[in-house]
Amino acid sequence: MEIIVAPLVVSVISSVLALMIVVVDGIVNNYGEVEIDINDGKKKLKVKGGAPLLQTLSSTGIFVPSACGGRGSCGACKVKVLSDVGPHLPTELPYMSKDEIKENIRLACQIKLKKDIKIYLPEELFNIRKFKGIVENLKDVTYDIKEVRIRLVEPNEINFKAGQYVQLVIPPYENIKEPTQRAYSISSSPSDKNHIELLIRLVPGGIATTYVHKYMKEGDVVEVVGPFGEFYMRDTNADMIMVAGGSGMAPIKSIILDMWERGITDRNVWYFFGARSKRDLYYVELFQELEKKWPRFHFIPALSEPLPEDDWKGEVGLITNVLDKYLSSVIPTDNSKEGYLCGSPGMINACIQVFDKHGIKDVYYDKFA
């Protein structure tokens, strides 16, 4: 008898307590309708109160960047709050500088919407959407880099600046139980509004790249969120010195195609692409073709370890050495210069040192981390 009574008593007590929690939650956490006023009335949203700001915004289609998905562990979802939502929480403080605290910058995932709120968001965030698309084409551009071309279905158009990135949503597979998001630069031109092209290099053991290389098929439905990022062509007259390695090709390709299509051909562009041997090179013909039509565009592929069978006649050496050589003796020094880098953190740091040596201070980059 006791064997039945004991679990029954514990279950009944637990159920009553759980019911109490649910009832209290229903009454206490019912904050009714709350208004989010974005950028001084530019956009006003009527939403259900009680949930964190980050979630509420994304449910209405405004995506504030967040790498941890609202767990308060990345500090990316910073939002300027113009109305009073109480002092900073202990969970927010580690991610805030003194100035940010003074300006009432908050983590959107930590603020609960309890009453009307006024916030400021950068304009470009309004542009960020979740897109549904179909994998139209999957192509091996080298032995470990795939070109993934996605046709957008819902919405079917994207507006982005060449150089920006999107987050690809990786569905659960094998032992990966949760959907994951990874950022990839868009390699297609912004004029191709119905497509997103990504260059994805296989990282051994990588959750997303393994999925793309081993499981993704043409015709698959995928989701992307974007566009994000501050890496794009600055509107100046300076010469552009671009350096990429591996799949760092993606944003640079997009920028160069965009410049060509929009007729921005009066700027000098030097594009250095570093690879180990010939099998790591790709899109070479595309850029060599462009070089012929666009006199101010220079494409310099360089191999650090060319194989004998490569029969390589181009530049040899680490990309930093080639860059240093060109900056010292080939590229005219009369005009001001801007650096654009995309690749591994090691390559970027090494290139920044070279730029520094030649007095190039305006350097923009996208680090793969």
Binding site: V9, V10, I13, L17, A18, V28, N29, P87, P90
Partner: protein, 198 residues
């Protein structure tokens, strides 16, 4: 049922001073030591402990009297008490968040931590062991909570002082804190003979 013949008010004051749950039974030590570095947090935690202790002691008394004892389920006492404590903490967290956001801010992350504070469970178990009446239990819970609150605030104040005191290097931090707690405990226990609350 025979309840011990102690005036509930005596029990209340005794549990604050002479039978302080922290300094005579050494329950709830981990949060006592880790949070007492900061006066404001200590205060917040003290309030939270007091609230939870009072409410859970009352609820657990009712369950003890009408469920556990009649059904002879004494071996389930721990699990039932803990479930009640966890649920009360949850509910309290929601209510405080709604009613007083400022207090909620002060309590912050400490409120959920109270679920695993052994002083809360300790008070409930003492109340059962010593066979207190409902009023005695509630005042014992409230007094123990206030006693815990008093002890942590006092310790926080002393630690503020010892921060700049010439403490020998090996004793700095937790070392001197434990010695301080020992001396505080002696001071509190010094009055223990005045009232017998067992």
């Amino acid at each position: 049922m025979m309840y011990p013949n102690i005036n509930p008010l005596v029990l209340f004051f005794a549990s604050i001073f002479t039978s302080n749950i922290l300094l005579t039974n050494f329950l709830g030590m981990c949060s006592f030591i880790s949070i007492s570095k900061d006066l404001k947090s200590s205060n917040g935690l003290g309030i939270a402990v007091t609230l939870v202790m009072t409410i859970t002691t009352a609820l657990n008394w009712i369950l003890e009297r009408y469920v556990i004892t009649p059904m002879e389920l004494g071996y389930l006492r721990y699990i039932i008490y803990i479930i009640v404590i966890a649920a009360v903490v949850q509910v309290l967290e929601m209510i405080i968040d709604r009613v007083s956001p400022n207090l909620y801010m002060v309590l912050g992350i400490f409120l959920p931590l109270i679920t695993v504070n052994c002083a809360i469970l300790g008070v409930a178990l003492f109340m059962q062991l010593r066979n207190y009446s409902f009023i005695q239990s509630v005042l014992f819970g409230l007094g123990s909570g206030i006693g815990w609150w008093l002890a942590i605030v006092l310790l926080a104040a002393i630690r503020k002082k010892t921060e700049n005191a010439p403490v020998p290097a090996p004793l700095k931090g937790v070392g001197i804190t434990l010695i301080t707690i020992g001396i505080m405990a002696m001071a509190f226990i010094g009055f223990a003979g005045m009232i017998n609350v067992q």
